[in-house]
C-alpha cells in the first residue's frame, strides 16, 4: 500500500514538474538569452523582504527587516536597497550582497515611498504623517531639504531629465510639482480622490497620476501642468467602487502603460497614445505596485491580499506565473544582477 502511495505521489510530482517545465520553456522561448535578475519584494505585514531569482521564478531568500516595510528603491549599481520601515520611522539600508541591514537614513515620521534622483545622490521620501517630502543626501545620510506638501503625501515620480519631482497627496487630492534645483513647488494640479502613483511618460511630455478612490488616471500636460484627459476603467461584473487604480508604470519604449487596479485584481494595459484600455490582465488579490525586469520583458506585480507576486509576459500580455512571497507584499524593485 505504502509503496503504491509513494509511487503515485511521485508520478503526480513528475507531471507537475513537467508542466512547470513546459510553462518555463514557453515563457522563455521568446526571451533568450535569459538573464537572471533579482527582484526584491517588501512584505508589509511580514516585516521582511522576499528575494526572487527571476530566472528560477522563485523566492531564494527572505530577509527580516524593520516594521511595516512598504516603499523600496535600489541605488544606481544595485548594491543597496533602501526600505521605508514606516513603523520604525526610518529608512533602512540593505546590503544586497550580504543581505544584511548595514545602516539607516533619517526620514521623518512614517516614511511610505521613496525615489532616487537620476544621479543617485538624493533620495526623496514622502512622510505620510507630517505633510512633508524629505530629501536625503545618500552619501552623508543627512536630510538636506523638507518640502511642505498636501495632506498625506504618497506617490513620488521624477521627470526623465530629473528636473521635476512630483508628489501626490492623498487627502489634498493634488499632484505637487517640485523644482529639484530649488526644492520649491511650482505647480499644484487637482486630480480625482486619493491620488497614488505619479509617473512621467518616458518622453517626458505627459505626467500620469492614478486616483485610487476616484477610480481614474489623470493625464497631465507636463509643459502646461493641467489635466488634459482622464482615463476611466470598466471591468464587466465588477462594481465601479472596486476599481481602484494604484501602481502605474510605462513600458520603457513608452508605448504602453500598466495600471494596477487594487481590489479589482487586475492590471489595465493602456495604449499610451490613444489612452484606450487594450486589455485587463487578471492577477492576484489587491494588486498594488509594479516593476519591470531591466530587459523590460517581464512585469512583476505585488498582490497584497493573496500574498503573491504575478509575473506578466509583456510581449504577449499574459500572466505566466504567480510566486508566493511573504505576508502582504507591497513594494517591488528589480536589480540588474
Amino acid at each position: 500500500m505504502q509503496t503504491a502511495m509513494k509511487l503515485s505521489t511521485k508520478s503526480v510530482m513528475g507531471a507537475l514538474a513537467w508542466s512547470a517545465f513546459e510553462l518555463h520553456a514557453l515563457a522563455f522561448a521568446m526571451t533568450s538569452p535569459a538573464f537572471a535578475f533579482t527582484a526584491y519584494v517588501s512584505n508589509e505585514k511580514g516585516n521582511s523582504i522576499s528575494i526572487i531569482d527571476t530566472d528560477k521564478l522563485e523566492v531564494t531568500k527572505t530577509v527580516p527587516v524593520g516594521h511595516r516595510p512598504r516603499g523600496i528603491a535600489l541605488n544606481k549599481d544595485g548594491s543597496e536597497l533602501y526600505i521605508c520601515a514606516g513603523d520604525d520611522d526610518q529608512i533602512q539600508i540593505l546590503d544586497t550582497k550580504k543581505l544584511a541591514i548595514i545602516g539607516t537614513l533619517p526620514s521623518g515620521p512614517d516614511p511610505e515611498l521613496l525615489i532616487l534622483s537620476p544621479d543617485g545622490k538624493l533620495l526623496y521620501i514622502s512622510n505620510e504623517n507630517d505633510n512633508l517630502v524629505t530629501a536625503i543626501d545618500v552619501a552623508t545620510r543627512k536630510a538636506v531639504a523638507e518640502i511642505p506638501v498636501g495632506v498625506e503625501p504618497e506617490g513620488m515620480g521624477l521627470s526623465p531629465d530629473g528636473k521635476v519631482l512630483v508628489n501626490t497627496s492623498e487627502t489634498t487630492n493634488m499632484a505637487h510639482l517640485i523644482d529639484t534645483q530649488t526644492h520649491k513647488i511650482f505647480a499644484n494640479v487637482l486630480v480625482d480622490a486619493r491620488p497614488r502613483a505619479a509617473q512621467y511618460t518616458p518622453d517626458g511630455l505627459e505626467l500620469w497620476v492614478s486616483s485610487e478612490v476616484g477610480g481614474t488616471v489623470s493625464v497631465i500636460d507636463a509643459a502646461n501642468p493641467k489635466v488634459k484627459q482622464k482615463i476611466a476603467f470598466a471591468v464587466p461584473g465588477l462594481s465601479k467602487e472596486a476599481i481602484q487604480p494604484v501602481g502605474l508604470r510605462f513600458s520603457p519604449d513608452g508605448k504602453r502603460a500598466f495600471v494596477a487596479l487594487g481590489p479589482a485584481n487586475r492590471i489595465a494595459v493602456i495604449d499610451t497614445l490613444t489612452k484606450k484600455v487594450e486589455k485587463y490582465l487578471l492577477v492576484g488579490q489587491r494588486v498594488w505596485q509594479l516593476a519591470f525586469t531591466p530587459d523590460a520583458k517581464y512585469l512583476y506585480t505585488t498582490n497584497g491580499v493573496s500574498n503573491d507576486v504575478s509575473v506578466i509576459d509583456v510581449a504577449n500580455l499574459k500572466v505566466v506565473k504567480s510566486i508566493p512571497v511573504g505576508s502582504f507584499p507591497w513594494g517591488v524593485a528589480i536589480a540588474d544582477q
Partner: protein, 399 residues
Amino acid sequence: MIFKHGILAAFLGVVLAACPLPAAAGSTIDVKAGFIRAPHVQETLSILDIPAADDGIAGAKLAAEDDNTTGRFLGQTYTIEDVRLQPGDDPAAALNGLLQHGVSFVLADLPAAALLTLAEAAKDKGVLIFNTSAPEDSLREENCRANVFHVAPSYSMLADGLAQYLVWKQWKRWLLFKGSHPQDELYAEALARAAKKFGAKIVEERIYEDTGGGRRSDSGSVQTQRLIPVATQNAPAYDVLVAADESEVFANYLPFRTWDPRPIVGSAGLEPLSWDGTHEQWGAIQLQNRFMKLASRRMNARDNNAWVAMRMIGEAAARTGSSDPKILRDYLTGPEFAIAAFKGQKQTLRHWNQQLRQPILLGDGRMIVSVSPQEGFLHQTSELDTLGFDQPETKCKLQ
C-alpha cells in the same frame, strides 16, 4: 449672550505665514463654517463612552486643518465657529449669530427636532446644513429638507449593515430586546425592517423598562449579574440577541450575562458604526494618528462624521474655487462629487435625499470585525444602496 462662542481660527495665521506660494490669482477665498451642538448624555454605562468636552467638534477642527493645508495651495482658508447650546436654547437664534459672522455652512450635532427647527430657520438664508449625528430615518424620508446633507448614517443603514453580516453568519433567529424610549423604538423598527429585508426572523421581542436612577455604582455589578439572566430567560430558541438601547440604559449589561450563552449585537457587543477608534484599514490609521495628535483621544463616530462633513465642504470649495453655498450645493449634489473617507471606497451622495452613501463598520470596541455591505448583496447601481431606504421606496421630496 446665551451661547458660548469660540472662534477656532488661531491656527490660520500659522498656516498663512508658512504659505510657500503666492495665493492663486492674488485673492483668497474664506470658507466660514459654524458648528452647532447640543450636549450629549454624560451618563453612559461604560466610563469609556463618556463624551469628551470636544466630542464631535474635534473632528471638524481636524478637517479644517486638512482643508487649510490644501487651501494654502489654492488661496483658500477655512474656519469653524463653535456654538454650544444649553438645554432650552433655540437653534434658530444660534444660527442668526453665525449668520452675522458670515457663516454659510453649518455642521449640526443636534437631536432630530432641533435639526428640523434649524433647517426651517435656515430656509432662504443661503445656508447648507450638515447633519453629523441624528440617525432618524424620518429626517431622510418624510421630513427631508433641501438644505440638509446627512453625513451620519441612518438607523436603517446601520441596521441593514448589521443584518447583512448576521445573515452571512447564518445567525438568522434574533431575540430583539429594546428599551422603552422613543429612540429605542426607532432603532428597533429599523432592525425589524432589516430582518424582513434580508431573511432573518425575530423570534420574540422584549422591552427593558427604564425605571430611572443612576447608571453606575460601586456595587452595581452584583445586581446586574442577577437581573440580566432573569430578563433574558424563557426565550424561544435564538442565535443572537439584538439590542436596541439608544439611551444607555441596559445594552452594555447584556454581554456575558444572558440566560442562554448567546452573542449580543446592536447597541452592545457587535455594533454597526459609521466609525470607531479601532478602525485602521484603508489608510484610516493616518487619520487616527492625526486625530490623536490633535485631541489626545481616539476618534469616535461623531468626530468622524464631523470630519467628513468639513472635508465635503473643503472638497467642494477646492474643486469649484468658490465659497458660494449655491455653487457648492450644485457640486455636492452633482455627478462629479466623491469623497475619500478611509472606508475602502468612494462615498457619494444619494441625490434623492442627500444622504452620504457609506460602508458600515461592525466593531466590538476592540476591533473592526467586518465591514458591510457584505459580499453577495448586490445592487444595480451601487452596493452601498443595499444599506438603508433605497430610491424606489423613498418618501423624500426635497424642498
